[in-house]
């Protein structure tokens, strides 16, 4: 997957830059973007699986992945299949962030924010490409472990279900973090019927109470 530019607007927002960036900031952004794009090898893998709603949670058939919690149940309501997606910018992103940070703290922050924006872009592209194969179905938005009350602890089973280690080189650290760090897991529900516009973002976000974006009347995405 090729990504040719970083969504700077998003990256600047992650950085908390609200007014127009000055010359120092723009020069840093130019350099960081160039180095980041050269360093990353964006890739994704996915697995489509039938969903079974059980009292314990939603079982992704063909794997040991059980999605627990009320929020994912609401999210996947009416869906018969799920697309398990794992996307990563590759370890190159981590190296680029470390290297930029070793030169200059600002460059490190900038590269990190740009990599986060780029990860979202990658997920958008991946989603588009995957959904093109299911033109007759309706899809939910991407829901990730850690959103709402879907526990982060499912990451291990999630990666296993996608065979993410072998297919895209994403693993879980002892501390339960995705490695490389600029990686995302998410499930997209597929339904034969139109999906009502569900609660999204802030409504299910655990950080809503202390969110700096919300404090300013904005959203993080």
């Amino acid at each position: 997957m090729m990504l040719t530019s970083v969504d700077r607007k998003q990256a600047f927002r992650y950085l908390g830059l609200h007014d127009s960036p000055d010359a120092v900031m723009l020069a840093t952004a130019d350099r960081c973007e160039r180095l980041l794009l050269a360093a990353v090898k964006p890739r994704f893998a996915y697995q489509v699986c039938p969903l079974t709603f059980t009292p314990e949670g939603i079982l992704c058939e063909g794997s040991t992945l059980l999605l627990q919690g009320q929020d994912i149940r609401t999210h996947l309501n009416g869906c018969t299949q799920g697309i398990l997606l794992c996307a990563t910018l590759s370890a190159g992103a981590d190296t680029a962030i470390r290297r930029a940070g070793a030169e200059d703290v600002l460059a490190g922050m900038m590269t990190d924010a740009m990599a986060s924006a780029l990860t979202e872009q990658l997920c958008d592209c991946a989603e588009k490409e995957i959904l093109a194969q299911f033109p007759e179905l309706y899809a939910t938005w991407r829901f990730s472990p850690g959103y709402g009350d879907l526990p982060l602890a499912v990451q291990g089973d999630f990666l296993h279900a996608v065979n993410a280690g072998r297919r895209v080189g994403v693993s879980l650290s002892d501390g339960g973090m995705l490695v490389p760090t600029k990686s995302v897991t998410a499930i997209i529900g597929l339904s034969e019927h139109p999906i009502p516009k569900g609660k999204r973002g802030c409504a299910v976000c655990k950080a809503a109470a202390s969110c700096p974006y919300r404090a300013k009347g904005e959203h993080c995405k």
Binding site: L17, K41, S90, R99, M109, G169, G175
Partner: protein, 776 residues
């Protein structure tokens, strides 16, 4: 005469067909369904496999933790099951650990080594060891070293998984894999999994050019269907795909995902009807890191700046364990054009072994430039060689027996290249003949230990022209002879030539050009001096190495006038800091130092500017990036002051010591780094322990430094318990110190609950807290 060796095919997919539940653990069947496991092995033996892989791909202590069975138990059963199939040979199969090593992941090299060691020890009844589906060269190195040191001398095979780009997921390229693993003494290398046989053709072709070892090809049955993840090649098609590999000279074959005994039968039939093709690859002199190989087929610059000799600021950095300073030196040289970096971190009053490990790890975490480990301390050398990922250069061995006996075995064991200095117990011979004779002796000894001819580089030693003018041409004659008559690569520390003379740069540059013409391959220079790198670039142009002057034109063709310098006459240091202008802040500080006391600059200019920036930030008039930008500019000013102070032996700016760390399990350190730079700006000595820091390490550093304040950062909810544990341990063992905690998921309530003294919502607040703790 080389012979073919046939390996087996897939295991997991077949077990699923035989009823292994999806998501089930295949290794458990070694105990629960031993007959089925043996029957799969037997099917491969009957299909023509000479070697079967035990059903132990994920059989390590991390992955088996939840099975309730030990690695020893499972592996012993697996080897027995394999043996019962009647196979000629049993290979102990070892897959990736499943966690990534540092620096991208959190697993330490030594931990990876212990995990593999346990597997190797449990599988000693096997006939050989196989590391397969590997992506990370550091992980492979840990496995190979464990197998070499605990495997009883049995053969070691390694196969890695490549993408179509010719790189693994972690970016490891084929030449680096080959150079590193052949250097470490494995017995066969190759590829498995990831791609189908057709896509592997160019990859195996490249591998065959880079190794003299037998090459293994164990592909999947084609590429997986993107939706179902199943494989579709028929046995016939799979077998037909082996043809190009046989023609390239690969000799060990098998199958990976989606292959069955029928695939192996067809492939075995095809291969046994062919003849092995002898290969005679010529592997050049080259060094590497996982992602980058530097071939010494033309002059390559070795940067000399990571060396404390005669540099007070560098010595200070080593004593303070300031790895950021070392990294700064590394990156600056790479930007200036260094191809390889010399790393010398020896000082009489520091633990050089520990420092060498720290430096190698730190530099390799941010660059892919190969390193030259420069030390006379054998323990430090081995520690560096053990950790270094890739093929480094060892600097150096000399003609003395004790040196040859200590250094060369390490070079051989870790597969490094080595610089041989043409001196011995009688000193440096005056004549070219004398030095040539020592070079010959070093080469002979290296070859007798099995070190490749291409891996011996000779340093004919530059003498100072002011003291030994006659010696200059002797050095160059020796270079010429070593290059021509011994066919070896040559190294010279160039800068020494001009010592004690005026216009040193002029002398050094001209000597460099003369030496290049005499056959110098590896000039050790200061690449930050533009005229030095320019001399090398120009030489490459004139010697027709830089074809069509492409590099030269790319570098100098678009030479731009330097950007108009800001009118610094009206700019104060405070303005420059507030505007985030790093260069200007540095140069204005230099100018100020001519007439102002350093502490006056800190207290009168820098701190007030930072206070103003901080106040603006708190008002919301500027945002975090601008705050950091100003902090970076202030840091540039501080660096100038630090150099000044160390050169004038006036101590350091020190308002008190603070220990900082990102807690165990967390690998996000940007937040912590922001806090660090701000604290340093205000003159605090920061002991930065990095990320993923065990609580014991925090306590140890706090005890040693008796720091009154410890700052802890955590970004993820999953690592908050580590923070709590660290705070508790500090309370118990360092009752004098206060703790300040921060990080994206932290709240003041949580900070209070875990017993931290302060919660800081951002870096600026941490500075305010530090002021309160230390007294502003």
């Amino acid at each position: 005469m080389t012979e073919f060796l046939m390996l087996d095919g897939g295991m997991g997919t077949i077990l699923q067909a035989k009823g292994l539940p999806l998501g089930g653990i295949p290794e458990l069947w070694n105990l629960e369904q031993p007959d089925i496991i043996t029957s799969v092995h037997r099917a491969y033996v009957e299909a023509g496999a000479d070697v079967v892989y035990t059903n132990t791909f994920g059989c390590n202590r991390l992955k088996m933790a939840r099975t309730g069975h030990s690695v020893q138990e499972l592996i012993a059963a697996a080897v027995t099951n394999a043996r019962r199939s009647g196979t000629k040979q049993v290979a102990l199969d070892i897959g990736p650990i499943g966690q990534m090593l540092e620096p991208t992941g959190t697993l330490r090299f030594e931990e990876a080594y212990e995990i593999f060691k346990e597997q190797i020890l449990a599988g000693q009844d096997a006939d050989l060891y196989v590391l397969e589906t590997m992506s990370d060269l550091a992980e492979v190195r840990a496995g190979v070293l464990a197998a070499r040191e605990h495997g009883g001398g049995k053969p070691i095979f390694v196969t890695m998984s490549f993408e179509e780009t010719g790189r693994t997921f972690t970016g490891c390229c084929i030449p680096s894999m080959a150079l590193t693993l052949e250097g470490l003494g494995v017995d066969a290398i190759g590829v498995n999994c990831s791609l189908g046989p057709e896509e592997l053709v160019p990859i195996v072709e490249e591998l065959c050019r880079w190794t003299t070892l037998p090459v293994i090809v164990k592909p999947n049955a084609g590429l997986p269907d993107p939706v179902t993840n199943t494989y579709h090649f028929t046995p016939e098609r799979f077998a037909a795909c082996m043809k190009p590999f046989v023609e390239m000279g690969a000799v060990i074959f098998g199958g990976c995902c989606g292959t069955t005994p029928e695939h192996i039968r067809a492939a075995a039939q095809f291969i046994r009807s062919s003849h092995p093709v002898e290969r005679h690859p010529v592997i050049p002199s080259a060094v590497c890191t996982p992602n980058r190989t530097v071939i010494i087929d033309q002059p390559r610059i070795i940067g000399e700046r990571i060396n404390p000799t005669g540099k007070k600021r560098f010595q200070q950095a080593l004593r303070e364990h300031d790895t950021d300073y070392i990294l700064g030196q590394a990156l600056q040289q790479i930007d200036a054009g260094a191809d390889i970096l010399d790393v010398n971190v020896g000082l009489p009053d520091i633990d050089e072994t520990e420092m060498m490990q720290t430096a190698v790890k730190a530099i390799q975490s941010v660059t892919d430039t190969p390193l030259q480990l420069d030390t006379t301390n054998a323990a430090a050398l081995e520690a560096g060689l053990r950790l270094y990922c890739g093929k480094p250069i060892v600097n150096s061995v000399n003609g003395e027996e004790s040196s040859l006996n200590t250094v060369l075995p390490l070079v051989k064991k870790y597969g490094a290249a080595v610089v041989g200095l043409t001196l011995d117990k009688d000193g440096i011979p005056k004549t070219a003949e004398g030095r040539f004779a020592i070079a010959e002796r070093i080469l002979k000894r290296a070859l007798s230990l099995g070190i490749r001819h291409e891996d011996v580089y000779i340093d004919c030693l530059t003498l100072t022209a002011s003291a030994e003018q006659e010696g200059v041409m002797e050095t160059l004659h020796a270079v010429e002879r070593v290059k021509k008559e011994l066919g070896l690569r040559t190294v010279l520390g160039v800068s020494n030539i001009s010592f004690g003379l005026p216009s040193r740069e002029l002398v050094t540059r001209n000597f460099l050009t003369m030496a290049l013409y005499a056959g110098l391959d590896l000039p050790i220079i200061n690449p930050n001096t533009e005229s030095m790198t320019a001399a090398v670039r120009t030489y490459k142009l004139l010697a027709a190495i830089d074809k069509n002057a492409e590099d030269f034109i790319a570098f100098y063709g678009t030479e731009q006038k330097p950007a108009p310098v800001q009118n610094t006459t009206s700019l104060t240091l405070g303005d420059a800091v507030m505007a985030g202008l790093k260069n200007e802040s540095g140069s204005l500080t230099k100018a100020l130092l001519a007439e102002t006391e350093p502490m006056q600059i800190v207290n009168g200019e820098l701190i007030p500017a930072l206070d103003r920036v901080g106040a603006e930030y708190e008002k919301g008039a500027i945002f975090l990036p601008q705050l950091i930008s100003a902090a970076s500019a202030a840091q540039a000013a501080f660096e100038v002051i630090k150099v000044y102070l160390s050169e004038h032996s006036e101590g350091t700016v020190d308002r008190g010591t603070i220990v900082l760390a990102t807690v165990k399990g967390d690998i996000h350190d940007i937040g912590k780094n922001i806090v660090k730079i701000l604290l340093e700006n205000y003159g605090y000595q920061v002991i930065d322990l990095g990320k993923d820091v065990p609580c014991e390490t925090v306590v140890q550093a706090t005890v040693q430094s008796h720091a009154p304040l410890v700052g802890l950062s955590a970004l993820m909810t999953t690592t908050l318990p580590s923070m709590e544990e660290t705070v508790k341990l500090l309370r118990k063992q360092c009752p004098w110190c206060k703790t300040v905690v921060g990080g994206a998921v932290l709240t003041p309530e949580y900070a209070q609950r875990i017993g931290a003294d302060f919660y800081a919502k951002d870096a600026k607040e941490t500075v305010d807290i530090a002021k309160r703790v230390f007294g502003a």
